[in-house]
Every structure is written in C-alpha cells, then in structure tokens.
C-alpha cells in the first residue's frame, strides 16, 4: 500500500532564510507526488505536482521540489521564506489509474512557523 512520511512535525524558520521540508514515500511503481499547503481555517491548496519526467518541479510562490527515486523522496524547498508562508504543508502520493483521478494518500503534515 502507498504511504507518505513527513518526519518533521514542526519547523521554525526566520523570515528570509531558506526552507526545506522532507517527504518520504512508499509506493511500488511510478508515483504521482504533490505538495499542498493549508492556511488556518482554509482548505488545501496545491503548491506543485510531480508527474514522471523532470525530477525538479517548480510551483507557486517560489516553491520547488525534487523527486528522487533512489531515495524515495520528494523534498520541498524555498530559497527565501516570507511571513505569509506560515502554514501547514502536506506531501501526498497517488497512483496513476490509467488517466482517471486516483485517491490521494497524505502525510501527517509539517507546521511551518516563520519568525522575524
């Protein structure tokens, strides 16, 4: 069965500093991987997605992620954090169901706190 692990429950980062959030997945086959962000009292918003191809994918608001098959990882990065990045970030995996939308399996999330 597919699964996702986000080893860091909480991360604190200074405004302007770089950020990396870790994600490890378990899936037999070629995964489709996603990073979502959840602001307080809001639904999930897609930051970026990986479909088989270029391992580095660019997302919104300066976020990017790198897929590594050998490490079963899909880490999220941002070069310079802004206070508005204060949120919970979820990594998710899905299987390709022949062009149909497959269900998402989420990690536990990482709470990012930005300090000045």
């Amino acid at each position: 069965a597919q699964s996702v692990t986000q080893p860091d429950a909480r991360v604190t980062v200074s405004e302007g500093a770089s950020l990396q959030l870790r994600c490890k997945y378990s899936y037999f086959g070629t995964p489709y991987l996603f990073w979502y962000v959840q602001y307080p009292r809001q639904g999930l918003q897609l930051l970026l997605k990986y479909y088989p191809g270029d391992p580095v994918v660019q997302g919104v608001n300066g976020f990017e992620a790198e897929f590594s098959k050998s490490n079963s990882s899909f880490h999220l990065r941002k070069a310079s954090v802004h206070w508005s990045d204060w949120a919970v970030y979820f990594c998710a995996v899905s299987m390709n169901t022949g062009g149909l939308s497959g269900k998402l399996t989420f990690g536990e999330g990482t709470q990012v706190t930005v300090i000045s």
Binding site: G43, L46, K49, F90, T105, G107
Partner: protein, 115 residues
C-alpha cells in the same frame, strides 16, 4: 470560476446526534471526494464518486456514515450517530477525470466537534 463550496463551516453536537455535510463541486467536475482530517493529522479519504457511482468507500465507517451523490453533482455526507472520535474537519474535493491527470481542488471544510 467558483471553487468547491461546503456547508456548514462549523458544527457542534452531542454524542448520538446526527449531522449532514453538503458539498457543491466545481462545475463540470465528475469526480468528488470526501476526506476526514483529525486535528494535527493529514486528510484521510473516506469515499469518492465518479458521477453518481461510488468508486471507493472502503474507509467509510458504514455503520454510522453514509454518502450520496444522486445526480452526479452535489453530495451529502451524513453521520447517523456521532461519536467524540468523529471530531475532525471534513473536506470535500472535486476533479475532472479527462486528461492525463486530474488535479483535486479542495473546499474550505466543515469543522465538526462532538462533545
């Protein structure tokens, strides 16, 4: 374009009471999902539909939870006799199955507290 809408936004009930959540997906989206998100956890899929058909409800507690999408548009998730363990945010998402991969768009959720 309007996003996924859900109502109510909040619900507070006593154990044993019933509650219904309503979801209106993005127009034209044929696939609709219900997720349960306990506090400080990631969302977990309960059930999903393609049009009016249930595709996967294996994680739906069938003794107390039910979900319908009778015309393949709006959907209702109902908890018959709520328990404190049902306290969570219930998220609805929708997608269009055409194309290479269908991105899921999420609504704001309904935050349920069972006392």
């Amino acid at each position: 374009e309007a996003g996924v809408t859900q109502s109510p936004r909040y619900a507070v009930l006593q154990e044993g009471q019933a509650v219904s959540f309503w979801c209106d997906p993005i127009s034209g989206h044929d696939t609709l999902y219900w997720y349960q998100q306990p506090r400080d956890q990631g969302p977990q899929l309960l059930v999903y539909f393609r049009d009016e058909a249930v595709i996967d409800n294996s994680q739906l507690p069938s003794d107390r939870f039910s979900a319908v999408r009778p015309k393949g548009t709006n959907s209702t998730l109902k908890i018959q006799s709520a328990k404190q363990g049902d306290t969570a945010t219930y998220l609805c998402a929708s997608s269009f199955s055409g194309g290479y991969y269908a991105e899921q768009f999420f609504g704001p959720g309904t935050r349920l507290t069972v006392l």
